[in-house]
Every structure is written in C-alpha cells, then in structure tokens.
C-alpha cells in the first residue's frame, strides 16, 4: 500500500465529513483498514475496529428518565456506568425488537473538549470484521436525510453489501441525548 493512495483515501473521506476537526480521529481509525460491520434491519453499517471496547450480549439497561427515546438507559461495564443507545430507534425510528443476535457494541468516543467516553450501541447482529483497502472507500452521496448526511463518512462495498461507515464521534455526542 503506498502512501499516496492512503492520503487520497483520507482526503476523500475528510471532504465528506461534516466536521473535519471533530471527526479527525475517526478518519484516522478508518484508515486502519479494519472495521466492525453490523446489521440494523436491512442495512449494513460499520464502525472503526480500533474504537470497539467490547461486545456484550443484550441486557436490559436501567432506564434514564428525561432522555431521548433512543437512549435505552445505562448498564454496568465493569464498574463504569455506560449509556446505551438504540441505533434502530435513532435511524429507523422504530422500536427495536430484541432477538437472539442482538448485541451491544461498546465504543470509545472522542470529544474535543472533554475526556473520552464509552457509549454502547444496540444493533441487530454483527456481520464480521471487515478488512478493506482505504482506496475502496467511496464518498457518500447526498442522502437528503440529515441523519445520513451528518453521520455517514463513506461507503464501502463488500460483496453484495454496502456498508455505511459511521462518524461515531458526532453521532454519539451524549450532549444531544
């Protein structure tokens, strides 16, 4: 893999991201060429593998009053209180049906002005750890969907599936929950 290719890939992704500063970290992580793919409904998504802290089986979180519907509550991650966000409710606006394959992916989120936080996302199932070439990341088109436009940093075509690469730092900014 030569450097120019890598840079081009980085460039492509960064022109796409809504906020270059804030997502700078996540771009770096996608440049590592490995991501974790998961399924929500019919769609495939991916998050940078370097940000994944842990994957847990679904468990019912303790509800948090006064938060958005898609914040399912908090769970105990080895002594830390970690919020859990249901991506299906956030993206598809339909309540999750929790099935056998449902898991919580614990992600480390970077913030510009404060410490890292850990946030869990609920997804229907995991696909695989995807190995890819940075040049294969395609620029996301304009979705006419504010959620997608803001939080999808690129597309990755693997076999029959198209993975949406998520900008998790912006997506999981707890201040807006």
């Amino acid at each position: 893999m030569d450097v120019t290719q890598l840079n081009r890939a980085l460039g492509q992704v960064s022109t796409n991201s809504p906020n270059v500063n804030e997502s700078g970290e996540s771009i770096q992580d996608y440049a590592s060429e490995r991501c974790l793919g998961f399924v929500l409904g019919k769609d495939c998504f991916a998050v940078p593998i370097l940000r994944v802290e842990e994957i847990r089986k679904w468990e019912i979180p303790s509800a948090l009053p006064g938060t958005q519907n898609y914040v399912k509550g908090v769970i105990n991650l080895r002594g830390e209180i970690v919020p859990v966000v249901d991506l299906r409710e956030l993206f598809l606006d339909e309540p999750q049906t929790y099935i056998k394959t449902t898991v919580i992916i614990m992600l480390r989120i970077f913030y510009q002005n404060s410490e890292d936080k850990i946030v869990g996302i609920v997804v229907d199932s995991l696909t695989d750890v995807i190995q890819y070439n940075s040049v294969d990341i395609k620029q996301a088109p304009n979705f006419n969907n504010s959620l997608a436009d803001d939080y999808v940093t690129g597309l990755l075509s693997i076999g029959d599936n198209v993975y949406f690469l998520l900008n998790i730092d912006d997506l999981l900014n707890v201040e807006q929950f």
Binding site: S62, P65, G66, G73, N76, E80, I81
Partner: protein
C-alpha cells in the same frame, strides 16, 4: 496563639499554580479588543485568589505584585481599559514572573528580584501610561499600597553582575577517605569554575584522643560564584555522591540577601568577613582558631536549615495526612478480613449439611468486616475541619489590625470531620467570607461603643454535623447588611429593576451576584466584588448551599451546608415499576402504606396527601420518571421525603433494603440529568440511579408548570 501556617503552604502553592494555569489559558485565548467578560473575570478571580492567599501566608512580595496586576485587570473588567495586545503580552509575562516567584518560595529559594522588579515597573508604567496619558518617567510608585521597599531594595539589586552564586553543602560520610576520595581535590576542581569560598564545620570533630585518622569528621559549606551550570558542579561530586550528603542550590547575590533583612545586615557582613578567614583555614583544618568557632556554629545552623529545605524540595504530589490510629485500625480490619476469608475457604473445602450453619456465620462475619473496612477506608479521607479553620486566627488578627478594628475570633467544633476534597474546596470560600465580614461587617471600635455594643467584636466560626450534612457557620456581631444600600447598588448595576419587590432573603442573595460590592473604596482586602459569587459557585459545585441571615445593627450569620462526603451515601432502595432507584436516607422522613382515600386532587392534576394533620404534595414517581404504569391500583407505598424544609410524598411500588452505596457519576460516560445525582451498581451488577430529592422535586415542578402554562395558552 501560635499556629503553624506552613502546613498549608503546600495547598496554597497547589492552588496558586492552578490559578496561574487558568490565567494563562484564558489569556492565550483572549484576542485584543475582545469583550469576553467571562474570561477576564476568570483571570481576575485567579489573580485575586493568589493575592488573598499570599497575603494570608505572609508572602508579601507576591501579594504586592499581584495587587498591581489585579488593579490592571479590574480596569479591564469594568471596561475602563481596552484589551490591547500589549496588555495581553504584559499579563502573560506577569503570569510567568508570578510562577517563578511561587516556585522559588515553594522550594525556599530566594526570589529573583530583578525579574520581579522589571515586570513590576512595566506594569506600573503601563497602568500610568494609559490611565492618565502622562509621561512614563514618573515610575516611582505613588500608590499608597505599594511598598516602597520593593522598589528601593530591587534597585540596588539592579547593579549586580550576571554571575550566579551557588551554595553547596557538602557533608561527606566519615568513611569517604577510605574509599579513596579526597575532598581538597574536588575543591580545587571547583575553583577552576569560579571564585570559591569554603566554610568548614568542625562541630563533629571529636577530642584528640578519640580521633580516628582514617575517618573524616568535617563538612563544608561552599559558596561558588560562577556562571557555570548545575551539571558542572554535579560532575565534580559525581564520584562521591554515594558517600556524602550533598545539596546544591542557587543562591542569589549576597547583597540582595542583606537588603532583604536590613536589621541583620551588619552581622551578615561580619559573617562573610569571617568566611574569608575560614577559607584560609580550610586547608589546615586542625589549626582552627577559637575566634572562628562562633562563625562556624552560625554557619552550621544555616547549613542544617538549607539541608532540611533541600530535602523538602521534592515537589509533593497530591497527598493526604492520616492519623496513625486510622491506619492501624485499617490494618486490623484487613487482618480480620484475611482470617474470615481463610475460614470460609476451609469451609468451602468440604460442604456438609452441618457446615451450612457455620458458613452462614462466616458470611455474616464477612459482611461485618467489609462494612468496617469500608468505614475505615472512608475515614482516611476525613480530616478535622481545623485544617480549614486554623488559618483564620492569623488572618483575623492581621486584617483587623490593618483595619483598626477589634475583633475576637471564636472557633467551635474544630474536630468535626469532613472529606478532604470537600475541605480543599471550602477553604477558599471561607477566606473570602471572613475577609468580607471583617472588612464590611464590623464597625470601628468607637462606632460600636456609640451603638451600645462592646468595643471588641466577635467573629464565630462553627462547624457541626446535622443529618448527613456538615454545617459551617460564620457569625459576626457587626453592623449587619443594609437592605437599602444593597438595593441601591443592585439597581445601579442593573441586577434588579425598580419595580421588583424583594424579600429580605432575596436581597441578601444579591450579594452573591458577580461583580456586586457595596464598599465605596477598593481595598487590599475586599470590595472588588469578586469573592461572594465565587463562594456561591464553589459551594454549589460541592452539592452544598449557602444561606444568609442578617439583622441590621445586630450582625450577620452565613450558613454553609455541605455533604459530608461525595463518595458514599446511605440509601434506601425503592422499586418503581420494574426499576430500582435509590433515595438518600437522609432525605427520608417516613414510609407508610398508601391510603387511597387520603389522596386529594385539584381537578385531575395537583395531587396531595393528607398525612395526619398536614397536607403534602404527592409525586407519582412512576409517572414522573416517564415509565408506563403497569398496575396502578395495586397496593402502593408512600415515601415521605424532605428537602429544603418541605415535605413531599413519593408514590413507590416497594421498599427494598437500606444499604450504603458507592456514588458513581453519570458524567463520566454520559451527562448530568436533572433530578438524578448519580448512579450506583447493585449487588446483582445492575445499575440503579440515585434520586436527588431537591433536584427531582424542582424538576417535576418545572415540567408541570410548563405543561400547565401550555394548556392555559392553547
């Protein structure tokens, strides 16, 4: 009363360095011409705290220097002065100088007066140049609060040449000669670096009969004038480091030392003369003259002082001073725990029906051990509040003398224990309050006599436990708060409008607004209107509250309530729907079975409960927490809680156990939620939220008000 203030020095330095960091950060962010009042206020407050602290601890140079900075900042804050790039640069330099001063003080080294003087002059010139636009020439400070001494003494310091003076205290162990090292050779090498003066300490020299020729009983204090680095000196001693006690410190010019303590200058000069004698004698130590003995012993004291300060030089990290009894207790507890553990382990080897009973006893023993262990661990963080109170006698004495007032300080309840983190953060607010009280609260002695009071006023500091809180009271018998003057001031500052009708309580709270000060003259002490807002903010961040009570002519009472500790809480577990919540035990009054007939409603909303003789508002936790109720008519319980002196009824589904819970913050991975003070992890590994009763009631009221208002308008 003599109290060792030096025990607080470390805290003061830590706080000041923090303050300087804040100043620097804000200064760097500020743009010229910016009107970011918040930033300027922050810088100003930091400077003010440093000034206050250094004044308290007798670091007069720092206090004087900061005073100038503060005046400058104050003008910027009030908009009298524009924020130019020049000003910003100057302030940044000032921060550096202050940091150098404090570092020097912390390491007990002399302050670099030239740098301070230079910066001080710049500040004065700057202030003059732009405030009245006149020539810069008049640099001699005309401000009354400026000590002349600083100027005069430093001007003499200005003539010094560049070379530095190093003081080396060299105490070889007696076996150094055996290891093949020869001190004189090292001194010769030092001499190549610059001018060397050596003073020998003969105090350890035994009488001739018991003299061991192979042992060395001498130690030296060497003064080296050279422009060399510390490394160069280190190199000379490289081979003997393990065979001696060595301390190398940078000494400023001797002349400066002399001017710093003019009253001892004569003897000092004397000493340096004798130093020379000793220098010559150094090579022939046995031929010591009796006349120099005196000098030597003087020097020896010097040397030991410096040596002890050298050992302190290791900048301490955050530390805690613990009573040895507490540590012993902790060790005992751990010992018991180990015994219980081994007993349980043995039982676990062979479990028979008979051993079940033993196992049960063992487990209850374990439970008790754990609780005791937890208590002793927590008690380590607890310090008597005298740590915060002990700095006040001196402060009160100095300040009241300065103001020509007569005030007696009474301290009560100084053994009341308080968590260290809480203590650290409450000290500053207390200083502000006491200073304010001395400055504004107390009248002059004659005025007191006229008003039929005793000449000497009384300031009382009191601390006691009440419920799960600690209460600190600051009571003075001064003139009290003047309602009209506060209102007038608040009007002129635009804090209130002319039509506002305020209760006394509300008026007193105005004092805690930023920038509020009723003092006519800005003094060294208070009256710049910083302080009280900081006081309130600091206390609020600790989860406490501050109340003021005042009667004009009689005095003022300030009451601070603080949580005892921030880490552990006695809680009642309650079930609401399917969730478990924790209500702090100290907020609970009672719990009883809900009698549906006692619920009275206003329309469909506004439920209240007739509890014996009184009516209390009802809050249905299940609804308030946004949970779908499953079976509303089931037997429910009523939990009566109290906050801010008002009772409320919470409707809950079940009461579970009471237990101590470890408070974990939601902020760490999430954000603060109103009405919830934190979370904890239960025995089964699940998370339970801790209800902040006062916040929760407030939150519910707000939600209902909003809803009702919406309804009225639609």
């Amino acid at each position: 009363m003599s109290i060792d203030l030096s025990q607080f020095h470390q805290i003061f330095f830590e706080e000041s360095f923090e303050g300087l960091d804040v100043m620097e950060q804000q200064l760097v962010q500020l743009e010229p011409g910016s009107e970011d009042l918040e930033s300027i206020n922050t810088i100003f407050r930091a400077a003010h705290s440093i000034k206050g602290g250094s004044g308290t601890f007798g670091f007069q140079e720092v206090a004087d220097f900061t005073h100038v900075v503060e005046s400058l900042l104050d003008e910027m804050r009030t908009g009298e002065r524009e924020l130019t790039q020049e000003a910003l640069d100057l302030l940044l330099i000032t921060v550096d100088v202050l940091r150098a001063m404090l570092t020097a003080l912390q390491e007990e080294l002399p302050i670099d007066k030239e740098a301070v003087k230079a910066c001080h002059d710049k500040l004065i010139n700057f202030e003059k140049a732009s405030s009245d636009g006149t020539a810069i020439g008049a640099s001699a400070s005309s401000e009354s609060s400026q000590p002349e001494s600083l100027d005069s003494e430093s001007s003499s310091g200005g003539e010094q040449e560049q070379s530095q003076t190093w003081e080396i205290i060299f105490k070889p162990y007696s076996n150094i000669l055996v290891t093949g090292n020869e001190p004189t050779r090292m001194f010769r090498e030092l001499e190549t670096l610059g001018q060397l003066k050596a003073t020998v300490d003969l105090s350890k020299l035994p009488v001739f009969i018991s003299l061991e020729p192979e042992n060395l009983f001498l130690s030296w204090t060497l003064v080296l004038e050279s422009d060399c680095d510390k490394e160069d000196i280190d190199e000379v001693f490289e081979w003997v480091l393990d065979d001696c006690d060595l301390s190398i410190s940078l000494l400023s010019q001797e002349k400066k030392l002399t001017s710093e303590q003019p009253e001892v200058s004569a003897s000092e000069a004397n000493t340096s003369e004798k130093d020379k004698e000793v220098t010559e004698e150094e090579k022939f130590p046995v031929e010591k003259s009796l006349s120099s003995r005196e000098t030597v012993s003087d020097k020896k004291i010097d040397a030991t002082n410096t040596a002890s300060s050298a050992s302190k030089k290791v900048i301490s990290t955050r530390s805690i001073r613990v009573d040895i009894a507490k540590v012993d207790e902790l060790i005992n507890r751990v010992g018991e725990l180990v015994i219980t553990q081994s007993m349980l382990a043995e039982l676990g080897e062979t479990i028979t029906p008979e051993s079940i009973e033993k196992l049960r006893t063992g487990l209850s023993g374990l439970e008790q051990n754990t609780r005791e262990l937890q208590e002793s661990v927590m008690s380590i963080r607890m310090l008597p509040i005298s740590f915060a109170f002990n700095r006040f006698p001196r402060l009160v004495k100095d300040v009241s003398r300065q103001l020509e007032k007569e005030v007696e300080l009474v301290i009560k309840g100084e053994t009341t224990e308080l968590d260290k983190t809480v203590m650290e953060q409450i000290s500053d607010p207390l200083v502000h309050i006491v200073r304010n009280s001395l400055d504004h609260g107390f009248e002059l002695p004659d005025e007191r006599l006229e008003n039929g009071k005793e000449r000497c006023g009384t300031l009382t500091l009191d601390a006691y436990h009440k419920g799960g809180e600690i209460v600190i009271e600051i009571i003075d018998d001064g003139r009290g708060l003047n309602r009209d003057r506060i209102l007038e001031k608040a009007l002129s500052k635009g804090l209130i409008s002319i039509n506002d009708e305020l209760t006394d309580e509300q008026v007193w709270q105005l004092i805690f607004e930023p920038g509020f000060s009723t003092a006519e003259a800005v003094s060294d002490l208070s009256g710049r209107g910083v302080g009280m807002d900081v006081v309130k903010r600091n206390i609020a961040t600790l989860g406490g509250s501050v109340d003021m009570f005042s009667t004009e002519g009689k005095g003022t009472r300030i009451m601070i309530r603080l949580p005892l500790t921030l880490a552990i809480l006695d809680g009642q577990l309650v079930r609401v729907g399917k969730e478990i919540f924790i209500v702090p035990l100290m907020a609970m009054v009672e719990s009883l079975e809900l009698d549906h007939k006692a619920i009275k409603t206003f329309g469909k909303k506004g439920e209240m409960y007739q509890l014996r003789e009184q009516f209390i508002p009802l809050l249905n936790l299940q609804q308030e927490l946004g949970m779908v109720s499953n079976n509303s008519n089931n037997e429910k319980l009523l939990l009566v809680v109290e906050s801010d002196g008002l009772q409320h009824g919470f409707i809950i589904d079940d009461l579970l156990t009471q237990q101590q819970v470890v408070v974990k913050s939601l902020d760490a991975n999430f954000k603060t939620i109103p009405g919830i003070s934190g979370a904890t992890i239960l025995g089964n590994g699940r998370v339970a939220l801790i209800v902040d009763v006062a916040g929760f009631v407030k939150r519910c009221r707000k939600i209902h008000e909003n809803n009702d208002r919406m309804k009225t308008f639609t």
